[in-house]
C-alpha cells in the first residue's frame, strides 16, 4: 500500500476530484495547506505600504491506494491539477505499513477498497 499526497492549487480541487473519481477512486482526504515553491509568495499593498506573503494557500489531497493503482492515481491528479504554470504543486508517494477501516476492523487492501 501507498499513501499518495498531492499539493494542488485551490481552484483546481474540483478537477482533481473529478479526475480521481473518473479513475474509480471514491475516497480521499482534503485539507487546507500553505506553502510555496518556485513561484514564491505574493505582495499585498495597503495604503502604499507593501507586505509580502511568502506562503500561498494550497490544497492537500491524500489518497490511500494499493500499489497497482498508484501510477494511475498520480496520472489522474496531474491531469486535473496541471495548468502548466508555476505553482501547480507536487505529488509524492510513501509506503504505508498498515491501514484499518474503523467501522469494520478490515485491514490491508480490503480496508481501502
Amino acid at each position: 500500500m501507498k499513501l499518495v499526497t498531492a499539493i494542488v492549487r485551490p481552484e483546481r480541487i474540483d478537477e482533481v476530484r473529478e479526475s480521481l473519481e473518473g479513475f474509480g477512486i471514491n475516497g480521499m482526504t482534503v485539507s487546507q495547506a500553505n506553502g510555496y515553491g518556485q513561484q514564491r509568495g505574493h505582495v499585498e499593498v495597503y495604503r502604499g505600504a507593501e507586505y509580502s506573503s511568502d506562503l500561498l494557500p494550497k490544497i492537500r489531497v491524500e489518497v490511500l491506494a494499493t500499489d497497482d493503482l498508484v501510477d494511475g492515481i498520480v496520472a489522474a491528479i496531474i491531469s486535473g491539477a496541471s495548468t502548466g504554470q508555476f505553482g501547480d504543486g507536487k505529488i509524492w508517494t510513501v509506503e504505508v505499513s498498515q491501514a484499518v477501516r474503523v467501522r469494520t476492523g478490515e485491514r490491508g487492501a480490503s480496508a481501502i477498497s
Binding site: 499585498e44 499593498v45 495597503y46 495604503r47 502604499g48 505600504a49 506573503s53
Partner: protein
C-alpha cells in the same frame, strides 16, 4: 431638579417651533450618531484579527463617556455663556442640561435646544472616537475611557466654544472680531482636532511591537472597512447638511457638496494608488471617500459644486500621498488618523481661502475675487487649534500614562488586546479543547487541579462522545 424636566412637550409653543427643521435635525442627529458605530467598523477592519473588538470598544466607549460628560458639563463648556473672556462657556449655568428641556430657539431659530444639544453631543462623541485609530492595538480600555472624559472636557469643549459657541473666534470674540474664519461643520473642531490629538497620543504611547517589521500588521477585514466607510458617508450627510441647523437651501447645498467632494476624493485617491502602486484598491476607495468627507466638512456650505469637486479630488490625492510620511518619520499612527483627518481637515480649512463663494459671511476665496482675505483667517484658526490640541493632549496623555498607565504590557500586546482587555475573541476559528463554566455557577472559579475540576475536563470529553452517538 428643574420642574421643566417633567413637562417636556407641554410648554412647547407651536408658533415658535419649526416642525420641518426640527424633524430634519432629529434625523440628522441620529445620522451623525450612526457614524461612530460606522467608524468602529471602519477601524475594526483595519486592525489585526486579535484587536478588532478592542478598537470597536474604543468607539463604543467614547459614546458612553462623552454623552454623559456632555450632558453634565461638556455642553455648558462648549455652548454656555462666555466666561474667561470667551475662552470657555460657563459649565454651571445649565449643569446637567438643567432648565433647557423646553427651551425653543435658544441656539437656532425654531429648534428646541434639546435637538441642538443632542446634535452637538454626536459631534463630540465621534471626535473622541476618531482619536482611537492613531493608538489602536495598545491602549488599556479603562485609561482610554478616562482620557475620553478628560479630553472632551479640556480640549474639545473649549475649541467648540471658540468656533461655534461664540467664544474667541465668534463675531464678538477677541480674535473673531478682527478676523472671520469659516468652518461650516467642523474641519477644525472635529478633524484637525482629532488628527492632531491622535498624533500626540501616538507619540506619548510609542509604537506597536512589530511596527515597520511585522508583515501581519495589516487590515484583517476589508469588507468591514468598506461597510464602515459606507456608514460614515451615510451619516456624514447629517453631519454636514445638519450643521445648517435648518431644513433649507444651504443644507441642500451642503448635502450635494458632501456627495460630490466625497466621490471626487475617492477617484483622486484611486488615481494616486494606480500610478504609485499599480492597483486601485478597495481600501483606497474607502480611505479616499473618508478623506473627501473630512475635507468638505468645513467648506460644504460655503462653496459651489465645482469647488466641492476640486476640494475633494485634491483631498484624495493629498491624503493618499501623506500616508507614507508615518513610515519616513517612524510614527505609528496605526490607522492613519493624522494623514486622513489632520491633513484632510487642514486642506479643507485652507481650501476655503481659495474656493469660498462670496456671501454674507465672506468676500469669497482667491478664485472668486476675494483675494487672500479669507486665506489668512483660515491659517490662523488652524494654527491656534493645532497648538492648543497638541499641547493639551500631550499633557493629558502623559498625566494618565505616567500615573495609572495607558499602554498594555508587552506580553498582553503580543497575545492580543481583545483577549487581555475584554476576555473575548472576535472569531471562533477551530478552537480545540477548553472548559465552560456557566456564569451563575462556577464561572468565577478558575480551573484548578482539584478532583472536581478534573471531572469537569473529563466531562467535556464525555459530552463530545454523547453528541456523536445521538
Amino acid at each position: 431638579m428643574n420642574p421643566a424636566f417633567f413637562s417636556v412637550g407641554l410648554d412647547v409653543n407651536p408658533q415658535t417651533l419649526d416642525p420641518g427643521s426640527t424633524a430634519w435635525m432629529l434625523a440628522a442627529s441620529a445620522l451623525v450618531l450612526l457614524m461612530t458605530p460606522g467608524l468602529a467598523f471602519f477601524y475594526g477592519g483595519l486592525v489585526r484579527m486579535k484587536s478588532v473588538l478592542n478598537i470597536m470598544m474604543m468607539s463604543f466607549g467614547a459614546m458612553g463617556v462623552v454623552a454623559v460628560v456632555w450632558a453634565l458639563w461638556g455642553y455648558g463648556l462648549a455652548f454656555g455663556p462666555d466666561t474667561l473672556g470667551g475662552f470657555i462657556g460657563d459649565p454651571f449655568a445649565n449643569f446637567g442640561l438643567n432648565g433647557l428641556a423646553t427651551v425653543i430657539g435658544g441656539k437656532a431659530p425654531g429648534l428646541p435646544d434639546m435637538v441642538f444639544i443632542g446634535f452637538q453631543a454626536t459631534f463630540a462623541i465621534i471626535t473622541v472616537a476618531l482619536i482611537s485609530g492613531a493608538v489602536a492595538e495598545r491602549v488599556r480600555f479603562g485609561p482610554w475611557l478616562l482620557f475620553a472624559g478628560l479630553w472632551v472636557t479640556i480640549v474639545y469643549a473649549p475649541i467648540a466654544h471658540w468656533v461655534w459657541g461664540g467664544g474667541l473666534f465668534g463675531s464678538t470674540g477677541i480674535i473673531g472680531s478682527k478676523i472671520s474664519a469659516l468652518d461650516f461643520a467642523g474641519g477644525t473642531v472635529v478633524h484637525m482636532n482629532a488628527g492632531m490629538a491622535g498624533l500626540m497620543l501616538a507619540v506619548v504611547l510609542g509604537k506597536r511591537l512589530g511596527f515597520m517589521k511585522d508583515p501581519n500588521i495589516r487590515p484583517h477585514n476589508l469588507p468591514f472597512v468598506m461597510l464602515g466607510a459606507g456608514l460614515l458617508w451615510f451619516g456624514w450627510f447629517g453631519f454636514n447638511a445638519g450643521s445648517e441647523l435648518a431644513a433649507d437651501g444651504i443644507a441642500a447645498l451642503a448635502w450635494t457638496n458632501t456627495l460630490l467632494a466625497t466621490s471626487a476624493a475617492l477617484l483622486g485617491w484611486l488615481l494616486i494608488e494606480r500610478l504609485r502602486d499599480g492597483h486601485a484598491t478597495s481600501l483606497g476607495a474607502a480611505s479616499g471617500a473618508v478623506a473627501g468627507l473630512v475635507a468638505i466638512t468645513p467648506a460644504c456650505g460655503f462653496v459651489d459644486p465645482v469647488g466641492a469637486i476640486l476640494i475633494g479630488v485634491l483631498a484624495g490625492a493629498v491624503c493618499a500621498l501623506a500616508i507614507g510620511l508615518k513610515f519616513k518619520i517612524g510614527l505609528d499612527d496605526s490607522l492613519d488618523v493624522v494623514a486622513v483627518h489632520f491633513v484632510g481637515g487642514l486642506w479643507g480649512t485652507l481650501s476655503l481661502g481659495f474656493f469660498a463663494v462670496p456671501s454674507s459671511k465672506t468676500e469669497g476665496g482667491l478664485l472668486y475675487g476675494g483675494g487672500l482675505t479669507q486665506f489668512w483667517p483660515q491659517i490662523l484658526t488652524a494654527l491656534i487649534v493645532t497648538v492648543w490640541t497638541a499641547v493639551m493632549t500631550t499633557l493629558i496623555g502623559l498625566a494618565i500614562h505616567k500615573t495609572v498607565g495607558m499602554r498594555v504590557k508587552e506580553h498582553e500586546e503580543l497575545a492580543g488586546i481583545d483577549i487581555t482587555e475584554h476576555a473575548e475573541t472576535a472569531y471562533e476559528l477551530a478552537m480545540v479543547g477548553g472548559t465552560f463554566h456557566p456564569g451563575d455557577q462556577s464561572g468565577k472559579t478558575p480551573p484548578t487541579s482539584s478532583g472536581e475540576q478534573e471531572a469537569s475536563v473529563n466531562g467535556k470529553t464525555g459530552r463530545i462522545r454523547s453528541k456523536a452517538t445521538t
